[in-house]
């Protein structure tokens, strides 16, 4: 009963004209930010913070929240169209989404991403309203040991999502882990493998490496002689804009499963949202009757992760709204926005600022509705964009990526580094290495190392904590099981291969 009263109150707040406008602006800017490669949510929210000084606090936060989850919607667009993931959470979308685009099915891919995101967003919003407070316990139950085990599980997901050689996939993960070590060490502050380059002091940025190994490398590869024919083929092949009935039927279970996974993992501050999208992909690939379709344009590989990352984007508000603790950098900026308005979020924010909390929750639902209304018609425009001749497309993408990377830190060196990673990515493609596990290793590497070291510091060097803490043990058990499931068929296949070869 209480919840209905609160929600009614929230909707009353959210439906005021100014807040509706703020929500719309947030959704629009978020979509734009998500679509533009390289431009990160953090940079944009940081830049827009001063504008919110003049706004009422509720409106300001509704707008900032809109940018955050709007970017999750938009992030899938470039992943699907040009194989450039704008956020860590849309790396997996690029795998099957871009393959679908290459087969002329960009429309259905984009549409299913929007529909999945909408459904997940709505469910997760309800979840925040109903179960926000009890779910907070989950965020607090996760200590360093549990996070470490979760990261191990995340890395196993990365192995599963590889479509080629498992050995190469593991090598790419470790390469990513090594890249993530660059920069200052969290515990001692020592500079690691940074060669006294000031821009490397804080490590390689995700956007820098992602734009390089996905964006620039893809462009260079497409400029190879002989690639033109394939491109022309894509342009002729473009078929329907909207998903067929079969697409919808195929996508429904992944959307449901992705929503559940994303909602749970999103609550965990630090890496939860990224792991959610990878976990959803892995789950779909493992459940599929024919896993070999994955990586070759399976619609389930778009529907699952996109629902998961959007659900996670919503539920990641839970620690902020119930504990007042920002789980990621964007939320930390929102805390900054609240502080500027004299509201310091804390455990009592729900009681003290009902307008703010329930208004925000209600606005998320409205925002999701707005996003799908904005995004579905845009599908047509995006698909038409694919018809632009590549000779004009590729310099434009280069410029957009360069501006995007520059804008993250205002650092020209980042742009050069992205270029270098473009060459690395080109080399990786030529040697049949996949970039997605590399990126996941890079994102999860620091989290894994930090939490391992934290756990060992707290336990005074006792490694058994990972097994004696029940939650951590369960996560490690799942990881071990998954690894066996992945490696066994490969070994069997290898053996078969050897046999067939010897017969020849």
């Amino acid at each position: 009963m209480d919840i209905f009263a609160n929600l009614a109150h929230g909707f009353a707040v959210a439906f005021s004209p100014i807040n509706l406008l703020m929500c719309l602006i947030g959704a629009l800017v978020g979509t734009l930010v998500g679509v533009l490669p390289g431009i990160g949510t953090i940079a944009t929210v940081a830049m827009l913070l001063p504008i919110t000084f003049g706004l009422p606090p509720v409106g300001a936060l509704i707008m900032l929240a809109g940018i955050y989850y709007g970017a999750q919607y938009g992030g899938s667009t470039t992943s699907i169209l040009v194989n450039i993931p704008g956020e860590a959470t849309s790396v997996v979308t690029a795998i099957d989404g871009h393959q679908m685009a290459k087969q002329g099915r960009a429309g259905p891919a984009l549409a299913i991403a929007a529909i999945g995101s909408f459904f997940a967003g709505c469910v997760a919003t309800v979840l925040i309203a109903v179960l926000g407070a009890p779910l907070t316990k989950l965020a607090l139950a996760f200590g360093p040991a549990e996070y470490f085990s979760l990261m191990v599980l995340g890395l196993i997901f990365a192995v599963v999502l590889a479509k080629g050689s498992v050995l190469k996939a593991i090598a790419m993960i470790v390469f990513g882990l090594l890249l993530s070590m660059v920069g200052s060490d969290i515990e001692t502050g020592a500079s690691r493998m940074a060669f006294n380059i000031p821009e490397l002091a804080d490590g390689l940025g995700f956007a820098t490496v992602a734009m390089g190994v996905f964006g620039f490398a893809e462009i260079i590869r497409n400029l190879d002689a002989g690639a033109e024919m394939n491109r022309d083929l894509v342009q002729q092949k473009i078929t329907g804009l909207m998903p067929t009935r079969k697409d919808l039927a195929d996508s429904t279970p992944p959307i449901l499963r992705g929503t559940v996974l994303g909602s749970i993992l999103g609550i965990l501050p630090g890496g939860g949202a990224v792991i959610a999208s990878f976990a959803a992909y892995t789950l779909e690939k493992k459940l599929a009757k024919n896993p070999s379709r994955f990586g070759r344009g399976a619609i389930e590989g778009v529907a699952g992760p996109e629902s998961a990352n959007n659900a996670a984007a919503q539920t990641s508000f839970i620690p902020l709204l119930t504990l007042g603790i920002p789980p990621n950098a964007v939320m930390a900026l929102m805390v900054g926005a609240m502080t500027i308005h004299g509201i310091v979020p804390g455990p009592q924010v729900m009681q003290k600022q009902p307008d703010l909390v329930w208004g925000m929750i209600a606005s998320m639902w409205i925002g999701n509705l707005m996003l799908i209304i904005i995004n579905l018609p845009l599908v047509g425009i995006w698909v038409r964009l694919l018809r632009v001749p590549y000779r004009l497309m590729f310099p434009s993408i280069v410029i957009f990526c360069a501006i995007g990377i520059y804008s993250v830190n205002n650092a020209p060196v980042d742009v050069i580094l992205a270029g270098v990673f473009g060459l690395v990515g080109y080399w990786l493609i030529k040697h049949d290495f996949e970039p997605a596990p590399l990126l996941l290793g890079m994102v999860l590497g620091p989290l894994m190392e930090e939490n391992l070291r934290r756990a060992l510091l707290i336990s005074r060097g006792d490694w058994s904590v990972f097994l004696t803490r029940p939650l951590s043990a369960v996560l490690l058990a799942i990881a071990a099981g998954l690894l066996i499931l992945t490696v066994l068929p490969v070994l069997r296949a290898k053996r078969d291969e050897v046999f067939t070869e010897s017969e020849n």
Partner: protein
């Protein structure tokens, strides 16, 4: 081919002009264009919020806009290095901080700037007091008990901090050096995760700035032993000062101040200092800073000379504390 030649020609010309700028600005008409204020931390943090509140008022006084540029990285030293190398025409300023302009000297032996030699002090803005915080079920009841407990259980306790060079790290190092102990410090990536661990009870205590801690203390999810300033803070009237609680030696404040690159003309410094003082005297600015729990400097602490002395004293204060730590 002609296109290529024309293009390369244009590029060459453009690059040549790269080296040909540098024009000294006139101090009399200063400022004639917008001023860039570099903030060495992310938007939304205490330093950023204080800078934004004060510079918004300063811009009105100076009649030109002040653009805040957040440059994050390496505990703020990336931004400070950039500011030290910027043109000393008064159009690039930096909000320096206890970390960037004092603690960085012993922390980073290869620091590319020196706070005293490469900067002209302009004005002290505001400080955020530091609290000694602990998880809510940590046994000691007050600061005295805390001191005895931590000394007795130095092998068992875990102190959290928000990363090497952060305010919570260096202030806790100061506390430990006063107590003469070296407990295990558990590093987190920012104050948010550190606070999360404290609320969840995974670590025992930490030192942190007042801004993030007030709501948690009021809600009872963590407890505060003392505030490391000479006076109690209006936002936490029940928390005693370290002097009252029996540890007067522990005094720490995350101060924020405006600096300009070395060699900026005295006239520009004077006009900036006047604008900053005017902003600190403004009622709305004052109210917003106090809401954050900040301490606003008194009249005698607002001159460039006073800031220069503060920097000198702070470097002297942190060097012995942090030198053996790294």
């Amino acid at each position: 081919m002609t296109v290529i030649r024309a293009l390369t020609g244009a590029c060459a010309a453009a690059l040549a002009s790269l080296c040909a700028f540098v024009a000294p600005a006139e101090a009399q008409t200063y400022p004639t264009r917008s001023i860039t204020m570099i903030v060495p931390f992310a938007a939304g943090g205490p330093t950023d919020v204080i800078s934004r509140i004060v510079t918004a008022h300063m811009a009105q006084t100076l009649g030109q806009s002040i653009i805040i540029e957040n440059v994050v990285g390496a505990g703020g030293t990336t931004a400070t290095t950039r500011a030290a190398r910027a043109a000393n025409d008064g159009y690039t300023l930096i909000t320096g901080h206890m970390g960037t302009h004092a603690a960085s000297v012993p922390l980073y032996p290869k620091l590319a700037y020196h706070p005293e030699k490469d900067f002209e002090p302009i004005a002290l803005l505001a400080g955020t007091p530091i609290l000694i915080l602990a998880r809510k079920d940590f046994p000691p009841k007050d600061l005295k008990e805390f001191v005895t407990y931590v000394k007795a259980n130095v092998e068992k306790v875990n102190a959290a901090h928000a990363g090497v060079g952060s305010v919570s790290h260096v202030s806790c190092e100061l506390l430990h050096s006063i107590l003469g102990i070296k407990p295990v410090g558990v590093p987190f990536n920012g104050t948010g995760p550190a606070m999360n661990a404290l609320v969840a009870g995974q670590v025992d205590y930490m030192c942190d700035q007042i801004v993030n801690a007030v709501p948690q203390i009021n809600a009872g999810t963590i407890k505060a032993y003392a505030i490391a300033t000479p006076e109690r803070n209006p936002s936490l009237p029940n928390v005693p000062t370290t002097a009252e609680a029996g540890l007067p030696a522990f005094q720490a404040q995350a101060w924020n101040a405006i600096f300009a690159p070395k060699g900026t003309s005295p006239a520009i410094i004077a006009s900036l200092n006047a604008a900053a003082i005017k902003a600190l005297d403004d009622e709305t600015v004052k109210k917003r800073l106090l809401e954050l729990g900040s301490v606003i400097p008194g009249a005698k602490d607002r001159t460039p000379e006073a800031l220069a002395t503060l920097v000198k004293n702070e470097i002297a204060k942190w060097t012995p504390v942090l030198k053996p730590a790294t």
